[in-house]
């Protein structure tokens, strides 16, 4: 709040959907939050012309009439950051949906004020500094065990540097209690567990580093072929029904980030319910604790107000940065950024701005770039390493990737997971096209893989990719002349690539074992298929026909190896290899 200043109160002069205009607003700032009418509907100033402010309202405006009062609040759209946010589900402007439910029942009424966290709840705080210590902005001064897996670090808010003159002892406090007093040049500043931060402004950090550690997702096609680095960006564009949401949810469930922020932006209500229903039951493969304890969900479904949809991605990334600042690896899923872009388009249309491509505002590219640039592997103000990985789903109209949202995203995005309708319609899931997708992190994470996963990673990856590439070429020929016209070695390639596609790339997100495939198992599986190929080539040299290779029993075993329990796979892989060898030998022997 700006002090010593008269509150600005204006009057509505025009309403058309979520955009309203008010006069008498001289002195309000761009992006300042205002409250509209008796119900106090939350809005944000998005245009100023003389004393007339154009306001996007985050709630339904039906029933609002000209002449209604508009009160400026003096601050930009900000959210509360404090212990208690994890495991919750929020709307686009960080109001907890559970509290809204208590206040307004099963349907969302408007004008509800609900703080993001429970202000009366007491948290066990353990200080990390003592009186007289010099502290700087972003420094961690204590800990709160927020959930059984996440230790919520309490930080000095940005902008405060000085000496601790008072620090709370170990004990329980609410988020509003003063836990420290810091003597700064400007005087004594009080520090609480609760921080507020304006969502449209990136939180400060020391510097960005190049991402070099992969985000392990347990998804074979991603980890082995198109990895995204921690702190990197990825985009998954795909028409409806190609499995964007399933892919996003698999990532939210299984990726090895510390914190997951899941933004359901303009998507289906039932999908959010699905997340709420399944996450508490899922166990984190690392800690064995419920997944929900490291997850925060922002749900602004397609029938909730469009302006709040526009804000929801900023809300999400602000929370992500806050946990990054504590030194965590955060992964943020935005499903779907197209709905966000459409919300911008809708608001822009109501403002009668000159439209750019396909009716989207001219600033679409800038906004997308600004959003994705808030990702990164950083050195925090506290000299820790933290990261925000952003994975954005895109819903291109008609599945056509040439549209503006996809194209502008690709320009600022380094991983591209192209979802493919034709794969989806034959139930090849995840329907990620291996020929069109790419990852520009392959070189930067290579070292990590060679050291931590397998020294053969790069070699296997290249070999498998070139086989798949070859298959694509061969398929064109087969379309013209039929498979019989191919030489035996090429028919073998088709046999092996079928195995690669069906037995390796396909992964069942609903299967109890297959849903999550550890990196070691991924590489062991790939090794089996590739060694099958090498061994088969050798067998063919020894006179074995491609038809008898195609009919081998071991292929059925390989087809089902993905379902074999992860913990005993290493042993099982050896078994498969020895069975394979003996079957090949007997084929050769019978020649």
């Amino acid at each position: 709040m700006k002090k010593n200043q008269k509150q600005i109160v204006g009057k509505i002069i025009k309403i058309a959907g979520p955009v309203v205009q008010a006069s008498g607003m001289l002195g309000v700032q761009m992006y300042e939050v205002v409250k509209v009418g008796k119900e106090g509907l939350i809005g944000e100033v998005i245009e100023l012309r003389k004393d007339i402010a154009t306001i996007q309202v985050y709630e339904e405006t039906t029933g609002i009439a000209p002449g209604t009062e508009v009160v400026a609040t003096g601050s930009p759209l900000s959210i509360e950051l404090a212990p208690g946010v994890l495991g919750n589900i929020y709307d686009g402007i960080m109001r907890p949906l559970n509290i809204i439910k208590e206040q307004s029942g099963d349907f969302i009424a408007r004008g509800i004020e609900a703080p993001a966290v429970d202000h009366s709840k007491k948290w066990e705080f353990t200080p990390e500094v003592k009186k007289g210590d010099k502290v700087t902005e972003g420094q961690i001064i204590g800990n709160v065990q927020e959930t059984s897996i996440i230790n919520h670090k309490i930080m000095i808010p940005p902008g405060i540097n000085g000496e601790i003159v008072e620090i709370a002892g170990k004990g329980t406090y609410t988020v509003d209690d003063v836990i420290a007093k810091v003597k700064t040049e400007k005087g004594i500043e009080e520090v609480r567990m609760l921080q507020k931060w304006p969502v449209r402004i990136p939180r400060p950090m020391k510097q960005k580093e190049e991402p070099s550690v992969p985000l392990i997702t347990g998804q074979r096609i991603l980890d082995t072929f198109f990895p995204v680095a921690k702190g990197g960006t990825a985009a998954t564009p795909g028409g409806f029904g190609t499995g964007k949401t399933v892919t996003q949810q698999s990532l939210a469930k299984w990726s090895d980030a510390d914190i997951i922020i899941y933004i359901g932006c303009g998507e289906r209500g039932n999908e959010m319910t699905d997340v709420l229903k399944t996450f508490p039951k899922l166990k984190d493969p690392k800690s064995g604790k419920p997944m929900l304890e490291r997850t925060l969900i922002i749900a602004n479904t397609s029938n909730m107000p469009v302006a709040a949809r526009e804000a929801s991605v900023y809300t999400g990334i602000t929370v992500a940065e806050y946990f990054r600042d504590q030194g965590y690896a955060v992964a943020l899923m935005a499903d779907s950024t197209s709905r966000w872009a459409e919300a911008m388009r809708e608001i822009s249309g109501r403002l009668e701005e000159m439209p750019g491509e396909e009716g989207y505002p001219a600033y679409l590219a800038t906004r997308l770039a600004q959003f994705y640039e808030r990702s990164g592997r950083v050195v925090t103000l506290n000299n820790k390493e933290g990261s925000v990985t952003v994975i954005g789903a895109i819903s291109p109209p008609g599945g056509d990737f040439s549209e503006p949202v996809t194209q502008n995203t690709l320009r600022v995005n380094k991983t591209f997971w192209a979802l493919d309708k034709s794969l989806a319609s034959r139930r090849h899931f995840p329907a990620i096209n291996w020929l069109n997708s790419y990852s520009l992190y392959v070189d930067s994470v290579k070292e990590w893989y060679l050291k931590n996963a397998s020294e053969h990673w790069a070699e296997y990856r290249e070999k498998a990719m070139s086989l798949l590439q070859k298959e694509d070429e061969l398929k064109e020929i087969v379309q013209l002349v039929g498979p019989d016209a191919l030489p035996d070695t090429e028919r073998l390639v088709l046999e092996v690539t079928r195995m690669l596609r069906e037995d390796f790339l396909q992964q069942n997100a609903y299967h109890e074992v297959d849903a999550f495939c550890p990196l070691t198992k991924q590489l062991a599986m790939l090794e089996i298929i590739l060694s099958f190929y090498d061994r088969a080539l050798k067998a063919m040299e020894n006179g074995v026909s491609v038809d008898s290779i195609a009919g081998m029993k071991i292929k059925d075993v390989i087809a089902r190896m993905k379902e074999h329990p992860n913990d005993t796979f290493e042993k099982y892989a050896k078994e498969i290899k020895s069975k394979m060898e003996s079957e090949f030998s007997s084929l050769e022997g019978s020649q």
Binding site: K14, I15, A16, G17, T61, T62, G63, I64, A65, P66, G67, I89, L97, N98, I100, K101, D106, F107, I108, A109, G239, G241, G264, G266, R268, G269, N270, M272, T273, D274, L276, A299, T301, S302, N303, M304, E342, R345, E346, G349, E352, E358, G359, P397, G398, G399, S425, R426, R427, H428, V478, Q479, L480, V481, G482, D484, Y510, K555, D556, A559
Partner: protein, 460 residues
């Protein structure tokens, strides 16, 4: 709410819109009563409210209105629908007036037709299997209670026959619960409406049905209201009376055309193909009104029908719909030409909520595996058809020939059924499904669990 004042200061009438000036304190979204010089009464809604003027869309159209003698009354209320359980068995026009010759209903309460979004935290995840008796849906694209599953069709295809069959046969296995159908027709022809009515009457469905009918020659703007009336009624029956409501909305394409008409009349910046940029949000406000709520007995399940212009699934109407709904049932011209009824093409069809509604205790333990296997075998067979067209069947391997045969059998025996054939999921769909899968070698059934193959594979 302001008191009701009457104005006759109409500045402009254009298309479905009317601009009234010199007004005071008119709220956005307010309901407007209009009386023409002839004494005829119409209704409208405020689309834009300014200090001294209001833009009003007139639902019955502006034909016959003049800017001198027309009187406009702003009611100070938003558009509401009087609802009651007595609506069951009744027919209304597109804006909720009875058209079956019976007296108006006595409303139990009045509800805002725009509804309010269901809090995602209050939703219960849909997972109750609905048996429609249609194999291509039950087995391949399972419908569950609280789902929104549209039918994507084209002009000239039997989507109405299919919708009527679903409305007639849909049930939850082994349960006799109170059940209702809400039928919302937007801009369909008299004959189409007649077809539904005859079918509902013949089969007795009419006794548990509420109909809102806007015919092709009724005012186009009314169509904006019709689905909202239907859905408000459905929500009322579901969440206040604990009924399981199936809502059929046809034809959504006409609804979207009406939306475009209003947008054009307001000189809005058009999005794709002239449809307004907010069409996604607008459609979502309808489709998202399906679902179940924790602690409440009833449910709203939606089957919207839309005809894809020129069969183009990437046209904005099916495209935006597909992004909102939980899957789609695609009806195909090719299958129809080959005499297959229902001509459901299972490959582009999808039910997103299927996984939760099937399996042990719901349908049968092998459902997911069997469905996936049928899909991929059929997809492979279809690919081979293209190949055969070029190289001839002789060039195929024995394995491939089996898949080619499978695709034919799948269409003729599994998808094909009579319009009055109500197939039980276990006795019908599963039995036929396994018979077909058993024409393939066991080792090709990679998507089915080994134990299920042992149990259900039919020896030839």
């Amino acid at each position: 709410m302001s008191k009701v004042v009457e104005y006759n200061s109409i500045r402009e009438i254009a298309g479905p819109l009317m601009i009234v000036e010199g007004v005071r304190g008119i709220a956005y979204g307010e309901l407007v009563n209009i009386e023409l010089s002839s004494g005829e009464k119409r209704t409208g809604q405020v689309l834009e409210a300014r200090e001294d003027l209001a833009v009003v869309q007139v639902f019955e159209g502006t034909r016959g209105m003049d800017s001198k003698g027309t009187r406009v009354r702003f009611t100070g209320e938003t558009m509401k629908l009087g609802v009651s359980k007595e609506m069951i068995g009744r027919l209304f026009n597109g804006i909720g007036k009875p058209i079956d010759g019976k007296p108006p209903i006595v409303p139990d309460k009045k509800i805002d037709i725009n509804g309010q979004p269901i809090n995602p935290a209050s939703r219960e995840f849909p997972e109750e299997f609905i048996q429609t008796g249609v194999s291509a849906i039950d087995m391949m694209n399972t419908l569950v209670r609280g789902q929104k599953l549209p039918i994507f069709s084209e002009a000239g295809l039997p989507h109405n026959l299919l919708a009527a069959q679903i409305a007639r046969q849909a049930k939850v296995r082994g349960k006799g619960e109170s059940f209702a159908v809400v039928f919302g027709a937007m801009g369909i022809t008299f004959e189409e409406a007649k077809f539904f009515m005859n079918d509902f009457e013949r089969t007795g469905t009419i006794e548990k049905m509420v109909g809102f009918i806007n015919l092709a020659d009724d005012p186009a703007i009314e169509r904006i209201i019709t689905p909202r009336m239907a859905l408000s009624t459905a929500e009322y029956l579901a969440f206040e009376h604990g009924m399981h409501v199936l809502v059929i909305l046809t034809d959504m394409t006409n609804y979207c055309e009406a939306l475009r008409e209003i947008s054009a009349a307001r000189n809005e910046i058009p999005g794709r193909r002239g449809y307004p940029g907010y069409m996604y949000t607008d459609l979502a406000n309808l489709y998202e009104r399906a679902g179940k709520i924790k602690g409440k007995k009833g449910s709203v399940t939606q089957i919207p029908i839309l005809t894809m212009p020129q069969g183009d699934i990437s046209h904005p109407i099916p495209d935006l719909t597909g992004y909102i709904t939980e899957g789609q049932i695609v009806v195909s011209k090719d299958l129809h030409r080959n005499g297959i009824y229902p001509p459901i093409d299972v490959l582009p069809s999808l039910s997103r909520l299927m996984n939760e509604g099937i399996g042990e205790g719901k349908t049968r333990e092998d459902h997911s595996g069997v469905a996936n296997q049928l899909y991929s075998a059929y997809a492979e067979g279809r690919d081979l058809r293209d190949l055969v067209a070029v190289v001839g069947e002789e060039a195929l391997s024995d394995r491939d020939k089996k898949f080619l045969k499978f695709a034919d059998l799948f269409e003729k025996r599994f998808v094909q059924q009579a319009p009055d054939e109500n197939r039980d999921i276990i006795e019908g769909s599963f039995r036929i499904g396994w018979e077909l899968l058993s024409t393939l070698p066991k080792n090709e059934l990679k998507k089915v669990k080994q134990e299920h193959i042992e149990k259900y594979y039919v020896k030839q």
